[in-house]
């Protein structure tokens, strides 16, 4: 474990559903842990939890975030330690449909306790702009805005950026929340043909600094099938390398941005499943 300075609370958010928030939370959480930090990933998607599944911990969930908030369980009872990485933990969401159980004071208290124990608290936001999403971002120091290079995703990201600048504790204190853009499901060959918004288009429209570009890859699907984040399961694959680079940038390292290239896309297309 690294020497702890102060914990960082990161929200992984998007507005639009299905863009890759949960995948990215798991991949970046595992990458941070592999780089030596103590990490907890927190699922805020009450009623639709999936982070447990992506991390392969679905059969080990006993208590969840809402149980901790309600005082049914103590925090250490609800935390699940990853079987592969000893400094990676999961705090699962509840499958109960009662989203109101997530109270602002309760979430604040749990985040406060987690800050004492971890270097990184990575919060997987639900889609939308409702309560679950605003509570997930509420206590964040840093936001990772997950965007696909596609019109509705970019529009929703813009909306989320507005919320991050208005509704977070940091914003209300008059401070600026630290924002990073993570472009996922990027198809190099489509971008090259002008069939998909380019990285420059997205950056110009949203004007948030770029954390990384994750290519569309079957490795990601394979990793979630196996319940192992791509940064553990296929650490040398293109998406995993992109996630590791993004993670290092999140930690403040300066790393040249690699735009997934068309040749790799063509390579994938020509030589099929193994390449990406």
């Amino acid at each position: 474990m690294s020497e702890r300075t102060s914990a960082r609370v990161v929200v992984v958010t998007s507005g639009k559903g299905g863009v890759g928030k949960t995948t990215s939370t798991a991949a970046i959480g595992a990458a941070l842990a592999r780089l030596g930090d103590k990490v907890v990933v927190v699922d805020f998607d009450v009623g639709l939890r999936n982070l447990d599944l992506v991390l392969g911990a679905e059969r080990r969930v006993v208590f969840d975030l809402i149980n901790v908030i309600n005082g049914v369980a103590k925090l250490p009872q609800a935390l699940i330690r990853d079987k592969r990485l000893e400094n990676l933990y999961l705090l699962p969401a509840s499958q109960t449909r009662d989203k109101d159980a997530l109270t602002e004071a309760g979430v604040g208290k749990v985040i406060g306790e987690l800050r004492e124990k971890f270097d990184w608290i990575v919060c997987d936001s639900p889609a939308g702009i409702e309560r679950g999403a605003t509570l997930a971002m509420r206590h964040a120091d840093t936001a990772i805005i997950v965007t696909n290079p596609e019109v509705s995703s970019v529009r929703d990201s813009d909306r989320i950026i507005g919320l991050l600048d208005a509704k977070t504790e940091k914003a209300e204190r008059g401070e600026c929340i630290d924002k990073h853009l993570l472009i996922t499901r990027y198809h190099p060959w489509r971008a090259a043909r002008g069939e998909m918004l380019s990285i420059d288009d997205v950056l110009e429209i949203l004007s948030v600094p770029l954390l990384g570009i994750i290519p569309e890859s079957e490795e990601v699907l394979r990793a979630s099938n196996l319940g192992s984040p791509v940064t553990i399961n296929a650490a040398l694959s293109a998406p995993a390398r992109a996630y590791f680079d993004a993670t290092r940038r999140l930690k403040g390292e300066q790393i040249a941005m690699e735009i997934p290239s068309e040749s790799r896309g063509l390579f994938t297309k020509l030589f099929g499943r193994k390449a990406a």
Binding site: R155, R193, G194, E195, M196, L197, S198, D201
Partner: protein, 108 residues
């Protein structure tokens, strides 16, 4: 033309980019202040409603948000004898076209 350009020219990404830029410019300004066009629409209808009785479903409002100029077109069908407290006008159609700021009163 290079092969690359040939590919690009068929791409729809530039259209996506243009549409997003226009839309987000409006949505961002609407976040900080109430939507100007929406305010105009409400107030114009209120003013007209003070002078003539019109049926809400006889009002057509068209909005076209452009990059530098937007137009709000309000088309209201006013039946005869609908004047609120006064002499009834002939059957009229009142058209307010926001973009060109023209006002036509046509007497049918």
């Amino acid at each position: 033309m290079k092969l690359f350009n040939l590919f690009r020219s068929g791409g729809t990404a530039p259209v996506a980019r243009e549409r997003l830029q226009i839309l987000l410019a409006h949505e961002r300004s609407a976040r900080s202040e109430p939507d100007l066009l929406a305010v105009l629409r409400e107030e114009i209808l209120a003013v007209i409603g003070r002078h003539v009785a019109f049926e809400p479903d006889k009002v057509q409002i068209k909005l076209d948000r452009g990059k530098s100029v937007s137009t709000l077109a309000v088309d209201i069908e006013i039946p005869n004898g609908s004047r609120v407290g006064g002499i009834a006008p002939q059957y009229s159609r009142l058209t307010l076209d926001g973009g060109a700021s023209s006002m036509n009163k046509q007497v049918a």
